[in-house]
Amino acid sequence: MIKFLEDLPDIRNTDVWRSVFRSGTGKSNLRRSLAVQQNVFLHLASVKVRSKALEFGVTWYLGTLSLGCFLVLVVTGILLMLYYHPSVPQAYLDMKDLQFVVSAGMFLRNLHRWSAHAMVLLVFAHMFKVFYRGAYRSPREFNWVVGVVLLMVTLFLSYTGYLLPWDQLAFWAITVGSNIMSAVPGMGAKARFLMLGGNTVNANALLRFYVLHCVILPLLAVLFLAVHFWRIRKDGGLHTGEKTQ
């Protein structure tokens, strides 16, 4: 079997493959580096990492797990959007349909919900891990700031998603949350009005939260995630606590 596979012509030497991946094949460090460097997705990461940086104890993989949750949320969220209408008469019934009528709807909705809870937990854990290891210190201070923005985006995604089931819990949670917002001196009441698109949590608020939750905030998250990962490479890889020469 293995012999058979070895005898097959290497697909990576075909013209089509080479037109997509220009870096070429080979086991030299140069070729391997080029394979990473010349790929738009992989180039965010470094070509080489210290083996210490891959050990569980250094990061507990909390950042990667947060990203994993985010990806699960994107996939399940897009699928939920196919059955959910962000309108007052339909939102709650669509949510119930997802639970009891749509095939695998309950599974997808619960996966979305649990991943959302897990992501908030993991993002906080990631932040504490970075803090207690001192990984926020120079030269990584800017990436800490990007991380704080990502924490805010995560929390706001969580908050906007909370309204969408349109049940009593959602309604009163957003009523209370938006009233907290209006306590901001000077601009609070106006900011609440703009966020809700009215004076009460109503049809406009549901639609605004839906657009924020499904379009604006995910785009912001992807943008800042790209910068966050790229900065790991630019700041000399993950902080391992080892002395660098």
């Binding site: 009163w172 938006s178 009005f193 703009l194």
Partner: protein, 161 residues
Amino acid sequence: MTEEKKNVEEGCEECSRRKFTMAGLGAIGVAAAGSAAFGYQFLSPNALYEPSPIVDAGKPDRYPLDSVTPDVAAGIYIVHKQEGIYALSAVCTHLGCLTAWKPELGIIACPCHGSKFHSDGVKIEGPAPKPLPWLKTWVDDDGNLQIDRSEQLAQKQFVRI
């Protein structure tokens, strides 16, 4: 002389490039300010399809003496005391939850964070910073009790029938 002129011209070239950039930045700044103003206008709805703040509470004789009648949909209490009838907002002054009348205790209590009020709106305890406001109440030409939820009374005012 010609040397000097050349320098001036060179300076001008340098200067014009800078001027162009500054003019460009200025234009972008104006466009950004305009977009911000436009965005603010766009995000503020001009017509709100929200329920009217004025509630028709029906004939006053529906409310017996010494009673507190909640209207959950409207978020108000109609209270009938010896001095007369008044309407109280049922929206907690803390964070906007709907309070509930507890007839067995004779108080108004908020389920969210535990604020408690007397039936005249005065705070008993809890995080609420202010008493429940009294709302403008009157009897219209048909003899129906009307409450304007958007107008809070500065002082107690009873409707006498």
